[in-house]
């Protein structure tokens, strides 16, 4: 492995090193300093995230199996940032629940492995690497979802995730093999231009799409979402809802916009159909949820439906708006999940009614939550509004006015249930509100980052300009 290779693999190697260091720490740790793993992991990963922002050269490795460029590199940084927030928000939970059982290190190593898988996934240059990345990212998650094994719901979540994802990756693999059968290659570069429209490739596309649709939780591949989010530890649910979903959307976009471009007239319809279904079902289910995690699960399904509005375009504008939206979505959703995490870790309460009167006892947490929900709902001037507006503009630019209309109707429906939570926190009184508590430093940092993101992303335009400039490199 020469220096050149190492530099292109910088992100992945660094992740591996952190995992190894944590493993070594675990071997030499004793009961007194075992809790140090939390700080160690967060500091190391913070360093990793910061170093990630250094420039990366464009290049290919392993005969084209692995490739990287500025766009991919930027997205890796986005993922890093998201995971950093998740780790910060989970720190207290790890200390409280896992360290006494001596399982803290496992948590970090598994999560970093999953991230490593996603990094390989989005850097993949052929379908083999794609599949390896996909599996590497999913398997640790199943273990993580079942991490609170003493809770039945958690093991149930783990089982449901592993069974569903096994099915999904089987179907994806089948799709890949059909693609290979029809074109004789699994390299993206070679496939590009080699794909023509015939029943075999169409079937391959659908099957392949189903597997990614599972990760993104599009209807009808979404059923696992609510159960797993509800049962899994909150950190894992938030990881699933933003990080793994975001990466799957990104690779979906790359593949459909380049390799599968010849089938665009078909996948346009596919995206259209699933976008409508996903938005409506996600929103209608979200209306009735009483459990905050389930509520956020359906909200995240609906958000995925919105993202398809940008994907349907197949243009540079589509790429830019989708990435911008994902970035905003990461901050907004993690703000909401962060508050749920904080409250659940402190009090174990996760129901909507527990949040009644929260503003009186914990005003700061309520404000963070409100900001996150407003951003998810797309109320200006917080970032979520810009994200949605741009997605809609992208779809409108291709003449999908009716789809935009349906999306805007859905925004209004979603507004209703996001307001339900805001109302519970601000406008209701409760006999037994959640008492005041202080958050740990990590949690505070985790929440503050999300707040800064929500406020700054919409108003500080160079970020969008930068994304837009990079997006044009895809086509």
């Amino acid at each position: 492995m020469d220096m050149e290779t190492l530099l292109l693999l910088r992100q992945e190697v660094s992740l591996l090193l952190i995992a190894l260091v944590l493993l070594l720490f675990e071997i030499f740790a004793n009961d007194r300093n075992r809790a140090g793993v939390v700080s160690l992991a967060i500091v190391l990963f913070g360093l990793h995230t910061a170093l990630g922002f250094m420039d990366m050269k464009e290049g290919e490795l392993f005969g084209g199996m692995f490739r990287t460029n500025a766009l991919i590199h930027m997205f890796k940084n986005i993922l890093n940032l998201g995971v950093l927030i998740v780790l910060l928000q989970s720190a207290e939970w790890v200390k409280k629940e896992l360290i006494p059982q001596n399982r803290g290190t496992e948590f970090f190593i598994l999560m970093l492995s999953s991230l490593l898988g996603l990094q390989f996934l989005i850097s993949s240059g052929d379908f083999l690497m794609f599949y390896l990345g996909l599996e590497l990212s999913t398997l640790p998650l199943a273990a993580l979802a079942a991490f609170e094994i003493y809770r039945m719901r958690s093991s149930e979540a783990g089982i449901k995730l592993i069974l569903s994802s096994a099915l999904a990756s089987g179907i994806t693999l089948f799709g890949i093999s059909l693609l290979y059968a029809s074109s004789g290659s699994i390299y993206y570069a070679e496939l590009q231009g080699a794909i023509s429209e015939n029943p075999l490739t169409v079937l391959a596309m659908i099957l392949f799409f189903a597997g990614l649709g599972f990760k993104i939780s599009l209807v009808p591949f979404h059923f696992w979402t609510a159960d797993v989010y509800e049962g899994a530890p909150i950190g894992i649910a938030s990881y699933l809802s933003v990080i793994s979903k975001g990466a799957a959307i990104f690779i979906l976009m790359i593949l459909f916009f380049t390799v599968l471009k010849p089938l665009m007239h078909l996948w346009e319809n596919l995206f259209y159909l699933l976008s409508v279904l996903t938005m409506f079902l996600g929103n209608l289910f979200a209306l009735r949820q009483q459990n905050m995690k389930r509520f956020l699960a359906f909200s995240s399904i609906a958000q995925a439906g919105f993202i398809l509005l940008g994907l349907i375009t197949g243009t540079t504008l589509g790429v830019a708006t989708v990435i911008y939206f994902i970035l905003i979505y990461i901050f907004s959703n993690l703000a909401a999940f962060g508050v749920v995490q904080a409250i659940s870790t402190e009090t174990g309460k996760e129901q909507l009614q527990d949040y009644e009167g929260l503003y009186r006892t914990n005003p700061k947490l309520s404000l963070v939550m409100m900001l996150g929900l407003f951003s998810l709902a797309g109320i200006p001037p917080v970032a979520g509004f810009f994200g949605k507006f741009f997605l809609f503009t992208a779809a409108a630019s291709k003449g999908y006015y009716f789809l935009v209309f349906l999306a805007v109707v859905n925004v209004t429906i979603s507004l209703y249930y996001y307001l339900l939570v805001v109302r519970a926190m601000f406008l209701r009184k409760s006999e037994h509100p959640i008492p005041y508590f202080t958050n740990t430093v990590y949690m505070r940092i985790g929440l503050v980052i999300t707040v800064i993101g929500i406020l700054a992303l919409g108003l500080y335009s160079p970020i969008y300009d930068y994304i837009y400039a990079l997006s044009s490199t895809l086509n």
Partner: protein, 639 residues
């Protein structure tokens, strides 16, 4: 022009909001009230200074008032479509600055007295500042995107203010309703922006409104359901405006919004936020006028006229004085829309546009005054209901006189402000369409009836035994009343037409004497009807029903005619038609909106079974979904 000063006009309230919001618990009410009032005072001074600079110092450039824009490129959305942020100064934005700052200042001062001792005093002032900031941002916006952002911000702050009494269940429900109904209307606005933005390649008002520019000189002919894309865009934008300005059938939130504190009703639901829709149409007026020969403008006119009539009829039946005022606001907003809808573009043909803005201006003053007087009355008798009031003129002289001036102004009695602007509207409508003029003049009569109905009901009427003798409000509350009363009496004399016209050249205004006589006669007639019916506590209706069976009444023929007249007006007109309209409003219009909401919830309940929790079902759905999609795409959509 000094743009750095203009920028301060919205930024000062924003700063006040941040300071009060962050220091919520740490500062006392006296300090927060002072910060709030001095902030808005500064903005008001700057607004007047800007007006002076614009109209006085800059003046007309080559025959027209210039549109001055100072903006920065905020984001290059695509290679062609750009989004700016900045300030736009033209006659109507300057006028709106004056309106917003003046009314807001008065409401701030008034609130110091009205909200005294309230638990969330500081919170209230911070919300007020947030609202004022958003409203300033809205009127100064240079492009569609910017106006939309502030449009929504205005909505959010209105939500917060209506729901201010959050311990009251009805207030919370009203806040939610207002937010959701206006958001529903904003669907239209948003899609309209997307359409226009993508079709024309710009959001900029300057480019969109240029009559000689590329956009207005070659709008594409019919392309979707017989109308051009731009017309659709404008109709959709008007839907957004109709939501904020409470046009039928999107008005249902406004009466409920009266749950908010009364100063809020005066500021938001009378003078400023609700006129945002009118302002929006005025802002895009050249587009409305030139695209497809003003097709969208016709819709504006008819919706406006209908809303004006509909609301005026309902206002007759309400017993809650704030609700009467709410429907009255809706009715007057209808007037403004109507006037815009019938306006021409060049020179004195722009009378409709001018009169609409004029009425917006005068209405802001006298309607804010009416609400603040109502607040003063409510403060004194602790009730919104007409039946709990009567003879209050003896206890509250200042409020009484102020209310009277405002009532004369809204009824259109000269020389009070409303007369001048309403008269111009009626002239403009008459020149355009006599049917709409008929509606306009009818509404003018109804306006006089309903406003004097509550005037007599509150300040005259029955002798009432009050538990605690009502007394005049403190000077912090009466001072704004006096100021606004003076304004309501005098602002009609401003020669508006020389400042404001669609092509910004201004024109010589004049009073059309015969038209004015008709209008005043109708107003006086309405006043007279109210006088007869409501000045004294009237038992005529009950007497009528008592005597109907008695034969000797037939002999008193004269008396009979009198009673018949009463019967017709009171029982048929008021109880029959007006109550019917009110019922229609409450049950059909409101009901439909609720139905949409409820059916969403029901649907949501119905599909619950899909999420069974069993992983084999999920797998089944997954596989069958995939297979279905595959079949669909391979057999149906593959060529």
């Amino acid at each position: 022009m000094n743009y750095s000063l203009i920028i301060l006009i919205p930024l000062i309230p924003l700063a006040v909001f941040l300071v009060l919001g962050l220091l919520n618990r740490k500062i006392g009410p006296a300090v927060s009230g002072l910060i709030g009032v001095s902030g808005i005072l500064l903005s008001t001074v700057l607004s007047f200074y800007t007006a002076y600079q614009y109209f006085g110092v800059v003046g007309k450039v080559s025959g027209a008032y210039p549109t001055l824009v100072e903006s920065v490129v905020w984001m290059n959305f695509t290679d062609t479509l750009r989004i700016d942020m900045g300030v736009l100064i033209d006659p109507i934005s300057v006028m709106m600055l004056i309106v917003v700052s003046t009314v807001s200042l008065m409401v701030h001062i008034y609130s110091r007295g009205y909200m005294k001792g309230d638990e969330g005093y500081t919170r209230f002032f911070s919300f007020l500042s947030l609202f004022t900031f958003s409203m300033f941002g809205l009127v100064l916006a240079t492009n569609l995107f910017q106006i939309y952002i502030f449009w929504e911000l205005v909505g959010v702050s209105s939500y917060l203010l209506i729901g201010y009494y959050y311990t009251k269940e009805s207030a919370v429900a009203a806040a939610k309703k207002a937010f959701i109904v206006t958001r529903f209307a904003d669907l239209g606005f948003l899609i309209g922006i997307l359409l226009i933005g993508y079709y024309t390649g710009t959001y900029d008002f300057g480019a969109l409104n240029d009559p000689g520019g590329a956009i207005l000189s070659n709008w594409a002919p019919a392309s979707f359901m017989g109308l051009s894309v731009l017309t659709w865009g404008l109709i959709l934008i008007f839907i957004g405006g109709a939501g904020k300005s409470a046009m039928f059938p999107l008005h249902i939130w406004l009466p409920d919004a009266m749950e908010g504190p009364t100063p809020v009703s005066a500021l938001i639901h009378a003078a400023t936020m609700v006129v945002a829709g009118v302002f929006l149409v005025a802002r895009l007026f050249p587009m409305y006028f030139f695209v497809e020969d003003g097709f969208a403008l016709q819709i504006v006119a008819f919706v406006g006229a209908f809303s004006a009539l509909f609301a005026a009829v309902i206002a007759l039946t309400q017993t809650d004085i704030k609700r009467v005022l709410a429907y009255s606001t809706m009715s007057q907003l209808g007037y403004m829309m109507l006037a815009l809808g019938v306006s021409g573009y060049e020179g004195s043909e722009g009378l409709g546009y001018m009169s609409s803005m004029f009425h917006l201006f005068t209405h802001a003053m006298f309607k804010a005054l009416l609400f603040l007087c109502a607040g003063s009355v409510i403060h004194a008798v602790h009730s919104n209901e007409l039946k709990d009031m009567g003879q209050l003129r003896k206890y509250m002289p200042v409020t009484h006189i102020s209310f009277l001036i405002a009532a004369l102004a809204i009824a259109g009695i000269p020389p009070f402000a409303g007369f001048w602007s309403k008269d111009e509207i009626l002239v403009a409508v008459f020149e355009h369409n006599t049917f709409l003029y008929g509606i306009g003049i009818l509404v003018a009569g109804l306006t006089a009836i309903y406003i004097f109905r509550i005037y007599f009901g509150i300040f005259w009427g029955k002798n009432k035994a009050y538990e605690h003798s009502p007394h005049e409000s403190p000077s912090s509350m009466t001072f704004p009343l006096v100021v606004l009363a003076v304004l309501s009496a005098t602002v009609g004399f401003i020669p508006f037409s020389s400042f404001i016209s669609p092509d910004r050249t201004g024109f010589e205004g004049h009073i059309d004497i015969p038209m004015a006589i008709v209008a005043v006669a109708v107003a006086l007639l309405g006043l007279g009807v109210a006088w007869i019916l409501y000045k004294k506590e009237s038992e005529m209706v009950s007497r009528l029903t008592d005597r109907l069976g008695v034969l000797y009444t037939w002999a008193h023929q004269k008396f009979y005619v009198d009673e018949l007249y009463l019967f017709v007006t009171k029982n048929i007109l008021f109880k029959g038609i007006a109550a019917g309209a009110a019922w229609f409003d409450r049950n059909i219009v409101d009901g439909t909106m609720n139905l949409i909401g409820n059916s969403t919830v029901v649907l949501s309940r119905k599909i619950k079974g899909m999420q069974s929790g069993r992983v084999q079902d999920y797998a089944m759905a997954f596989v069958s979904g995939t297979v279905l999609l595959a079949i669909l795409f391979i057999y149906l959509w593959t060529s």
